[in-house]
């Protein structure tokens, strides 16, 4: 299997699969953790609440297999939206929840400091691309991507940040750490630039 999209009951997977296919990839939506062992690379998508996302990963038996395949065998993994936030140590959406802890940091509510800047942060926002040799290869220094979220990932190590955007405050739009890459925005819903990100992920070397 070329690429597995994890179905853990958190949102629209079809659009991720459609986008992978649109750039010439082959995606399989998997709902059995064991099937990740056959995959060359993995996408952890997801929308919804942090706590439920972790609970679904845990109760579905995903975490152990993911750790073997992603941390052990270093298969490329892309997290999108909630899939990025779950990489953190801890999330504070509706209480305190442990995350996967693969990238040091926490997930906190986006505080814009301005009532005119509404939350959820929904729509297209300019994203400054700080690292352009992997996920953002071939893109401009700033691209617009589609965001839908109320919480943001605050990594401890600034070196993992590969993109930032502003909504009242500057927040992390993407992270890249070895074979693990992730975006707060939805590349599968971000037209040309988003499809380019997915295409780059399909070529990503761990």
């Amino acid at each position: 299997m070329k690429l597995a999209i994890i179905d853990y009951g958190m949102g629209n997977l079809r659009s991720v699969a459609n986008a992978v296919e649109a750039v010439g990839g082959l995606a399989t939506i998997v709902s059995e953790p064991a099937r990740l062992r056959e995959a060359e690379r993995i996408i952890l998508p997801g929308v919804g609440a942090f706590g439920r996302g972790m609970q679904n990963l845990r109760s579905g038996g995903w975490i152990e297999v993911l750790e073997e395949e992603v941390l052990g065998k270093r298969k490329p993994l892309a997290g999108f939206c909630l899939g990025m936030q779950l990489l953190a140590d801890v999330g504070f959406e509706h209480g305190r929840h442990d995350g996967l802890g693969w990238i040091r940091g926490s997930v906190r509510r986006l505080e814009t400091g301005d009532p005119a800047l509404r939350v959820p942060h929904i729509g297209w926002n300019d994203t400054r691309l700080a690292k352009k040799d992997r996920l953002y290869r071939g893109l401009a220094d700033s691209e617009t991507f589609y965001f839908v979220h109320s919480f943001v990932f605050e990594p401890e190590d600034a070196a993992v940040v590969s993109g930032t955007a502003d909504h009242g405050v500057r927040f992390v739009a993407s992270v890249e750490a070895g074979n693990i890459v992730a975006t707060q925005f939805h590349p599968e819903k971000s037209q040309r630039a988003g499809l380019m990100v997915i295409k780059n992920f399909l070529a990503l070397e761990p």
Partner: protein, 262 residues
Amino acid sequence: MLKTRLIPVLLLQNGLLVRSEEFSIHQVIGNPIYEVQRFNEWNVDELIYLDITRDDNYDVRRDDHKVKNLGDSLDILEAVSKTCFMPLTWGGRIRDVDDMRRIINGGADKVAVNSQAVRTPELITQGAELFGSQAIVVSVDARRHNDGRHEVFIDGGRTATGLDPAGWAREAEKRGAGEILVQSLDRDGTGRGYDLDLIRAVAEATTIPVIACSGIGRYEQYKEGVAAGAAAVAAANIWHFKELSDRNGKRALARSGVNVRL
């Protein structure tokens, strides 16, 4: 900085695209799938698809469309989502969370609920818990009475509810809605511009994004919705029969100083 979204609204009736006037006159204008491909090529910001089929007025004079129930509409949704690399909201005839699940599994990113949210407001909370608030758009159809008061209507404008749109929108937010789509029964299809009092009242009553709709006849009218507090501006009829309706709409907004994605 976040861009103001410009959103085409497509209306689906018995499997065909239609344009609408005052929620009551509907003219067939084309194929529901090709239109989305065109919008995708135009790089539009987002798309809202509303299935306004009423089971009791199926047009039997036509036999080229055999689309009647939600199941058949879902076939259209699946075909649409394959060429739609932008956010897709799907609304109409949603009765429960199972309908929501079918629509999201069919490729939609968000569902728009209207009549059933008024009848059973718990549906908003149930949907938000299952799919996240960002996936739940509450659509509010309002009519302005002669005394200037607004009232929420449901069932495609046929049933009065006694609800005030601003108060209802605030309650919808409290129950877990992620966005509010505001439509005006008396502006729909008229080209007279948005009902700005309505947009302003709903925007002031809520903290989540408000999408203005109904009444756009000229691109210059979009900016009035933004000034009234809308986070996104939508329209239906102006997108049809015209080339460059995205480009010209965006340019009109940009000229008036609104930050859009060009």
